[in-house]
Amino acid sequence: MYKWIAPALAAAALTFSAPGWAHKLMGAGERVEVARSGMALTPTTDWNKLSYRPGKFAERWTMDGEMLNDVIFYTVPANEPLLREVDKRNRPLPQFQANMLAVEIPQLLESTKRIANDVAIFTTTSSTPAKLGGVDGVKFTYQFVGTDELRRNGEAFAAISNGTLYMISYEAPEIHYFDKDLENYRKLVESVSIAG
């Protein structure tokens, strides 16, 4: 009966005091495996990997904070959602399916963001064939407005290999930030290799 008091207090203390977790430097030139699954890459500039994951099969990198430049790596197996469920009972996220076509991935991301981030306006602006880590896939661009009313742009590369969805997305405010870090993000994409 009492044994959960200590963890509860620890949790309460965490909410009050400075979090002890550290974000990790992803230094330029170091080959790293991301999102625990076969996808490796070499950043050409320094990035930060945030210590909390946005989903079981996702990892988040940023330059200035996820509100200003937000790179997410996804390695999602079949029948799993892209991000952590916000309200699985009442607003479940759509799941990746192994028989999806690459051309349908933009809509999967759109649906996920509409539900998980309360995005009311989302437009896919382009969708073209592209390779990710040597695998044929899709590159797409989009625009959206979230609850903070700030207009943001996005660009993503996705490919499906052996029933797993590999995707890298980049999102940033339309004003200034999107253009500022676009090339850095694209260099990450260019260096990606997918094992298996």
């Binding site: 607003r91 479940p92 076509l101 051309v103 509409r114 009311a120 896919t124 073209t128 064939p129």
Partner: protein, 399 residues
């Protein structure tokens, strides 16, 4: 103008014994003019509403299409009259949930998700009239006061409950649940009284304008059915509607829908629905609003909306297309098989609906029908060579 005492008299004649006395029922009170806030709470709410409205004016989420705004406002003005209507500033917002809200300063927000679900002017009028009635009866402020007291108690109960559990009391869970139910019940009872008042006045507006009053109960039943279907699609039990945004502040149940239809039966009102006007006004937006709904991963609820919009008739081409997209979106193997004939039927009925060729082609490809799928995508690209994902589609057909 129709003499209101006739409505009252008619109401008395038709009154069912199970419904409260109708002597005062369908009277529209005299309008007291633009409302000025009084007292600390009212001024506070007023101020906050002004701040919200300032944000709305510059908001990215407001739909500024003059024709759509004029139509929605026209329906509101028709039921409450121009004098009352002048006190309202109305904003249509891009939000897929079923909701409309009225603030203490006369600002009314109407979600695009509400407009999608209505089938005619009468249904829209019933919701707008209901919201305006809350405003006229100053319920926004009273509701706020009551919710505040309720949530204070609920917070205490949560902590006391947590404490009791952590300190080893065996029946704390039960007591806490009990207390919480009592508090929520208190809010609900209070709001039910307001709801009844607002319904009665809302019916008076509708009757006065000649709309079919029973459209109101059609709307409530539909929203509850949608919630049920939504739950069923997610393989869980329903019967609770507190996840529907509108019902968060308008608690309801099946008895209320029954009560509403009894009430509606007693209002002589009119029989005007305005279905054709409504379809025409929504035509430029319906596809957009349907697509917003399709992306919410709510198979059961969306399927219900599509069925209801058809109104017992055969599905129109845009609804056939929407249902096909719904099936393709869920994407179980059988869903893809089901989607294919729906796309074909949509195209047959409306060859201008070229987006259906895209969905048809992708569904055929996913079910292994490669030549047919490629042909369908080629047809789509002939019509829409510059569409956003044209390069992606060309790569699929090897062009």
């Amino acid at each position: 103008m129709r003499p209101l005492r006739h409505l009252v008299a008619a109401g008395l004649c038709l009154a069912a014994p199970s419904v409260a006395s109708a002597a005062e029922d369908f009277t529209i009170p005299s309008w007291t003019g633009a409302y000025q806030p009084q007292g600390e709470d009212e001024r506070g709410l007023w101020r906050e509403s002004d701040e919200i409205e300032r944000a709305m004016v510059d908001s990215e989420l407001v739909i500024r299409d003059p024709a759509l705004n004029a139509f929605v406002r026209g329906v509101l003005c028709r039921i409450i009259g121009d004098v009352r209507c002048n006190s309202v500033r109305l904003y249509v917002t891009r939000s897929p949930s079923f909701n409309a809200s009225m603030y203490a300063n006369g600002m009314m927000l109407v979600n695009s998700g509400l407009l999608l679900r209505m089938r005619n002017e009468a249904e829209l009028a019933s919701v707008l009239g209901h919201e305006f009635a809350h405003f006229e009866q100053r319920h926004t402020l009273q509701g706020f006061k009551n919710r505040r007291a309720g949530s204070d108690l609920a917070a205490w109960a949560a902590v006391v409950g947590a404490l009791a559990i952590s300190l080893g009391s065996t029946n704390a869970t039960y007591q806490y649940t009990d207390l919480r139910l009592n508090i929520y019940g208190g809010i609900a009872r209070f709001e039910r009284k307001q709801e009844t008042d607002a319904n009665v006045l809302g019916f008076a507006y509708m009757a006065h304008a000649g709309y079919r009053p029973s459209a109101a109960s059609d709307v409530w039943r539909a929203v509850m059915n949608e919630a049920d279907q939504s739950a069923e699609g997610r393989k869980r039990r329903s019967g609770r509607y507190d996840n529907v945004a509108f019902f968060a502040s308008h608690p309801t149940n099946l008895q209320r829908a029954d009560y509403l239809s009894q009430l509606a039966n007693r209002v002589p009102g009119g029989d005007f629905d305005g279905a054709a006007n409504y379809r025409a006004a929504l035509a430029p937006w319906r596809q957009t609003f349907l697509e917003d709904q399709l992306k919410l991963n709510d198979f059961g609820g969306t399927d219900y909306i599509i069925t209801r919009l058809a109104g017992g008739e055969q599905l129109t081409p845009d609804l056939l297309y929407a249902r096909a997209e719904l099936y393709r979106g869920r994407g179980h193997p059988r869903d893809l098989q089901n989607a294919i004939p729906l796309y074909r039927e949509a195209i047959e009925k409306d060859p201008a609906l070229v987006a259906a060729w895209r969905g048809l082609g992708l569904s055929l490809l996913r079910t292994g029908q490669m030549p047919e799928g490629k042909a369908a995508l080629s047809t789509f690209l002939e019509h829409q060579p510059d569409t956003g994902d044209a390069p992606m589609l060309r790569s699929l057909i090897g062009a």
